[in-house]
């Protein structure tokens, strides 16, 4: 029996490395190509000019004004969308769980609905709505916050819902209420600290999604990071490849952090069980 298991473990290890190497080449090759492409100088030499320009903000915004506008807009959108998502969703899901359990299914359905509506379809319907948004708030790219909040609803909702399912919200809130706490105190000081990691992961997912969004911004004629990369591709392919790679790396670091946050939650959960 032990022999069988040991032999199997060896076979699995071999298979694992064959698969990982094969697919690893396929997936790393484009990333390496991006590095090579952006460091290619005249006459086959190595040149870091593109990257030096990318980290030099004043010179960058002078050389590629569209790009710097797009980067600034995307970072603004990240902050605003994360805030709007949290303000809108966190109190609602907690409130529904505590006071309106019958609405749970409805809220879940609405939050998951954007999954079945492709962004390209959503933008068709959003066009007339955004005519009004432009009328009231102007044509700033930051107005995309509303559309992006809709896009992140499914992911944020799942993260928050999973976090809330892991704790006994009702008992916590009844304990707090019986000690004289108001609803605001219950939410802010009792429930929220208990779902901190769920809130964090919802926020991280929002960041990654907003930084990568192209469809809606492009078709509503607003410049964000991805739209700027695409525009730039026509004039300076090297720079847009460099920005693409930087954006991919940034998102990778964010998701790696997210997995660490998730692990922290897992560990506390097992600790509580034992």
């Amino acid at each position: 029996m032990v022999g069988v298991i040991r032999r199997r473990a060896r076979r699995q290890r071999l298979l694992r490395w064959v698969i990982l190497t094969g697919l690893g080449v396929f997936f790393l090759l484009p990333l390496l190509a991006m590095v090579e492409f952006t460091t290619r100088g005249a006459g086959g030499t190595l040149s870091l000019e593109t990257w030096r320009l990318l980290v030099d903000w004043p010179r960058l915004s002078e050389t590629y004004p569209d790009l710097s506008v797009g980067i600034a807009a995307s970072f603004g959108l990240v902050v605003l969308t994360a805030l709007l998502m949290l303000v809108l969703l966190v109190p609602t899901v907690i409130w529904v769980r505590l006071r309106l359990p019958r609405l749970h299914r409805v809220v879940e359905f609405l939050c998951l609905l954007p999954l079945t509506i492709p962004a390209i379809v959503l933008v068709v319907g959003l066009a007339p709505v955004y005519a009004w948004v432009t009328y009231f708030l102007g044509g700033s790219p930051l107005t995309l916050t509303f559309a992006y909040t809709v896009l992140v609803l499914p992911y944020a909702y799942r993260a928050l819902d999973a976090g809330l399912s892991a704790i006994d919200v009702r008992t916590l809130s009844e304990a707090a209420r019986s000690l004289g706490a108001g609803w605001v105190t219950v939410m802010w000081r009792v429930v929220l600290p208990n779902i901190r990691s769920a809130v964090l992961s919802a926020a991280f997912l929002t960041v990654a999604l907003v930084l990568g969004e192209f469809t809606i911004a492009s078709l509503l004629s607003r410049v964000n990071l991805q739209v700027a990369i695409n525009l730039l591709g026509k004039s300076s392919a090297t720079m847009s490849v460099a920005v693409s790679l930087a954006a991919l790396l940034l998102a990778f670091v964010l998701l790696l952090l997210l997995s660490l946050v998730g692990r922290g939650r897992h560990r506390t959960a097992t600790k509580e069980l034992s």
Binding site: I120, S244, A251, R263
Partner: protein
């Protein structure tokens, strides 16, 4: 689409424990409802209205009357062709992605849980699967574009011209390649939880009864994982079918697939009598995705029976 499980909800299912007496129950309920007004107002304006605009627009003629012309216009050759190409592209990349991604997920699951390898590969998969098609399109332009790394290497060192038969990167074959590049990681993300649900005890039970590896996979592992595998494939299909950014960044000529047709309906000069054709095509896309996601939900429930 990283967390696709719907954990059971203990709070909602617990019998309602109401300790305090009801003081004007209808008033209290009305006050409770106030708490969800902002959420519902937001969803109404930015989700419900756009959906209604698409649905109503598909049945509206240019002079605002009811018509089925937009839907019949979907039967036009170029629209049908675009949808067929979209379906084929999505189905093909979903299958390739499901097989390769399934293998990769299996390789990961045999590695130590919570180990560095798994965490790094998971994060990388998350980025590649969800982080926008434009950056990936440019990754492939740097790799296989006319002056891309691989193109130049093959041409100068090995004398192979990959574009002897035309530059296929900016057409459907190129799209298929880049789509595969984000489908495989998505498969890893959605299939990994199911593989994690397979208990080593089942394998040990099969071993102790004298079952071979082949028998284990054919009679236990295979049937258990089949619904999850099929469901994940459907999700990959929906993902590719809805994708727009990659195609918009890569394809410069024509509108070979449905999302690009919608773009041209939105941005180009409106053909008389077809103002709402774009909305009809959008409705068509929603219907396809809704059917696929419905099937996915059914399979997901089937999966949860054993692997939840």
């Amino acid at each position: 689409m990283s967390t696709l499980t719907h954990p059971a909800d203990p709070a909602a299912k617990a019998p309602g424990v109401r300790t305090r007496p009801h003081r004007g129950p209808s008033l209290r309920r009305a006050r409770s409802l106030l708490g969800v007004v902002p959420f519902f107002a937001f969803v109404a304006v930015f989700l419900a209205i756009p959906t209604l605009v698409v649905v109503a627009g598909a049945f509206t003629s240019d002079d605002a009357g009811f018509t089925l012309d937009n839907l019949t216009a979907l039967g036009n050759g170029y629209v049908v062709n675009a949808f067929v190409r979209s379906v084929l592209l999505s189905a093909g990349t979903a299958l390739i992605g499901a097989v390769l991604g399934g293998l990769l997920a299996y390789a990961l699951v045999t590695a130590r849980e919570g180990g560095l390898l798994r965490r790094v590969v998971s994060a990388a998969c998350g980025v590649l699967a969800q982080f926008g098609g434009v950056t990936l399109a440019f990754a492939f332009i740097a790799t296989l574009g006319l002056s891309g790394f691989v193109t130049v290497f093959l041409r100068d060192r090995l004398g192979v011209d990959i574009y002897a038969g035309g530059v296929w990167l900016f057409e459907l074959p190129g799209l298929a390649l880049v789509y595969t590049y984000f489908q495989v990681p998505l498969m890893v993300i959605v299939f990994l939880p199911a593989l994690d649900g397979v208990r080593p005890q089942w394998r040990e039970a099969a071993d102790s009864l004298g079952g071979s590896t082949w028998q284990y996979w054919r009679m236990i592992g295979g049937p258990l994982l089949a619904p999850a595998f099929l469901g994940s494939t459907l999700l990959l299909f929906a993902n590719a079918f809805s994708a727009y950014a990659t195609a918009a960044a890569l394809v410069s000529q024509g509108s070979p697939i449905a999302p690009l047709q919608i773009r041209s309906a939105l941005t180009s000069e409106v053909v008389l009598g077809q103002q709402n054709l774009g909305k009809a095509m959008a409705l068509g896309m929603v219907l396809v995705v809704a059917v696929v996601m419905g099937l996915y939900a059914l399979l997901q429930r089937r999966t949860a029976r054993w692997l939840g």
